[in-house]
Symmetry: C2
Subunit: 454 residues, 2 copies
């Protein structure tokens, strides 16, 4: 094994030039999207009406293993990629573990997370198709920021519907998006019929992600040359995010290393799916057998306590049905839950792989997560996003098991982003006003009742 630097950046000419499409190696495909009214599989043409054309094709593609990254996407990728593969020497020493801990750090860009990987691709294809505007919703703001950055560069208009209460709590996130030229609309708003209706009924509402999605969809439908785009869950998002795993695997190969365990946090699945892609391929093709671990919040446990079923992607129950582990589209995490990873479901690709026993999942409480985050930033200098800190928690736990067993395992985890805009959550941890919330079985039964009957 070679001398391992603290951070390894692939040379620019060694960047992957194609995304990896995990479905080409899956023994069984996730089911198709279904029309919520008829229960019929949505044909390609229907998807093309909803999504940017090339993205709809990518969404359905089960056969092409590698898909070339267009030059225009690469040109922007190179402003923030490669992201570094880092060796957590200081953390290892602090934990007194024989384990080797690596992490792939996706937070070194202004969006603060991996979301930019897919945003760039989506806006590129939208522009190629001749679209002039996009709409989306954002909660915490990472996806909205990433999309703003890409739209600024490619010259498309962007309307971001931001959950009103988030826009009030995170005015700086709004300013970042505005600096990149996006129009940020606190939702519910008077710019859509659904927004007006909700405001009429409840003028004081702080909004919800479900409402913001509905407004963004309506705005896209009413705006010429415009589409609604989203940043997680879908197959094409995981495709773009495969950059994370491809770079990680290439960098570790240079070092003569291969992980025994690959760990990622999981909300809608974009980060986890991107990180594990090439490793899952090794597993599915019998080339290697790393453990693959999804980490989710105890307060939103779609994989560990959800049902594998067809469900809506939005709380408004307007989207096509997708096959996934879900808590029911009516599930709302406890108000004490900080940060992201609050989606009720999970990427269909990851759901199928989990269902077939190709990966593990665990859930962790919020306070142990922030405890891990604080330890991490002390020794590794980076202040991690609450989401990413779920993976840190699991990586530390695995490293501590190695200390007990004396095994020198190689651990790779995904550090999907930084927490610079999540300091409210950190403050509540520091002030001891944060709790660990675990929904009761009764809570989950209630939200499972929102599952569609098909």
């Amino acid at each position: 094994m070679k001398n391992v630097p603290y951070k390894l950046y692939l040379p620019e000419d060694k960047l992957p030039d194609a995304w990896y499409n995990l479905r080409a190696d899956m023994p069984e495909q996730p089911g198709p999207m279904l029309h919520p009214g008829t229960g019929e599989a949505l044909p390609a043409e229907a998807l093309k009406g909803m999504f940017v054309g090339t993205l709809a094709e990518q969404e359905l593609d089960e056969t092409n293993r590698y898909i070339s990254i267009p030059g225009g996407v690469m040109d922007y990728y190179k402003t923030f990629r490669p992201s570094p593969l880092c060796r957590a020497y200081h953390l290892e020493k602090a934990l007194d573990t024989p384990a080797k801990i690596y992490y792939k750090f996706e937070g070194n860009n202004t969006s603060g997370s991996h979301k930019l990987n897919s945003a760039v691709a989506q806006v590129y294809y939208a522009k190629e198709q001749g679209l002039s505007a996009l709409t989306t919703e954002t909660g915490a703001g990472q996806w909205g920021t990433a999309l703003s950055m890409a739209c600024a560069y490619f010259g498309l208009d962007l309307y971001v519907y931001m959950v009103k209460v988030s826009s009030q709590q995170k005015p700086y996130r709004m300013s970042v998006m505005r600096t990149y030229g996006a129009e940020v609309i606190p939702s519910p708003s008077g710019t859509t019929e659904i927004g007006k209706k909700i405001l009429d009924e409840n003028p004081e509402t702080g909004g919800s992600l479900g409402c913001a999605i509905s407004e963004a969809l309506e705005r896209a439908a009413k705006t010429e040359n415009c589409r609604y785009v989203l940043g997680s869950v879908l197959n094409y998002v995981l495709l773009h995010q495969s950059m994370i795993g491809l770079e990680a695997r290439a960098a570790m190969e240079i070092l003569g290393e291969y992980p025994d365990i690959v760990i990622g946090c999981a909300g809608g699945g974009s980060n986890l799916g991107g990180l594990i892609g090439p490793y899952m391929r090794d597993k599915l093709t019998g080339k290697a057998n790393p453990r693959i671990v999804a980490v989710e919040p105890m307060s939103c446990p779609s994989l560990t306590r959800g049902r594998y079923a067809y469900d809506f992607a939005d709380t408004g129950m307007t989207t096509p049905l997708i096959p996934m582990y879900t808590l029911g589209s009516g599930y709302i995490p406890h108000p004490n839950h900080a940060g992201g990873l609050r989606f009720h479901g999970m990427s269909p690709i990851l759901s199928k792989l989990y269902n077939q026993g190709h990966m593990e999942a665990r859930s962790v409480g919020q306070r142990p997560v922030f405890e891990a985050a604080q330890l991490f930033c002390k020794y590794e200098s980076i202040l991690p996003a609450p989401e990413s800190s779920h993976a840190i928690r699991a990586a530390i736990d695995e490293a501590l098991l190695c200390r007990e067993s004396g095994e020198a395992k190689t651990i790779l985890f995904g550090l999907s982003g930084t927490g610079y805009f999540d300091m409210t959550a950190y403050s509540s941890y520091l002030d001891n006003s944060m709790s660990d919330y675990r929904p009761s079985d009764e809570d989950l039964e209630k939200s499972f009742a929102t599952l569609p009957q098909i």
Copy 2:
């Protein structure tokens, strides 16, 4: 010339292993610090009582050209260094300029700026000396954050006196420092005699940097095993910051490039001094003759409109006197001035070099600076700090001159940090509530009147 990547990271084993001490090559030394009462040069022993011992030695060192970076400092440097040398391909294209624009990006760490380079060194030496605590003041919060990170890693206590109005405007900055274990005290506070006195006289005051410095000094004097440290202006700070220029020069050498113009923003001088070090050496030793340009805000024009004189470093007029370009220690930038670069003086090293004609200086208005920042983030993806955007403005202006003249000059500027915690300033730019303020000659005459008579 080789193929130039968007970002070039030096390999870890090519990181500079010694800081460069610019004074060893200066034809004339800046004058010594003077005792404000007697006007006598402060002897080494006096400095050692005020500063960490090794730092006092470095402050006085005029002869050692290179000073080895201790292993303990390098171990932490490697968690965030090297910083990338970036080629602004997209910006060049947008400007339609034949100029080649490079920037050295120091914002890829949680402190968000170059300040961490010196913080790590200062805390390392403090620990080596057996100190157990440090105090400092912070305005915008970058220095306080950097010092918190270093103190967390090396295990020293830290008390940060943060201007009260800043702590209220930037609660997130406070939370970041607290996450790293620092105690952040809004100043004025009841923890010091001077703080109590000010609060008694004016309970509603929002505080000032001068008051925060006084409180930090008092706290250090009253705390066992404790010193006050600061992050700019001083010679030893420029020494540690030489990492910026050393890395930039080494990276450009790999590319077969050498800058015709080196541009940096200048407040107290830590960023500019660090960036230009090796290039100034080339200039002073006749090896090359790059133009070196300091860019300062029109609202705080110490180099372009200040006097070269002995002055206090603090508004409280309690520090030793230092020889520098200054607007007078009583100078306070207009309230409309956003971001940092608000120090009334300038590093003695840079002041001497400027006085002797080895570098240029210019001042720029605030709105053109934010206009440049917005253009930059659109094309180069990074949202820059307002401070750093002064250098961007000058780099763009030089590139536009090249467009007129047809010259393909090579421009290098320092992108000292990111603006993620400065969104209030961006908002006021976006909302058109920002103005360009230029102090009148009468304003400056008034503040020159605060210069000590020695």
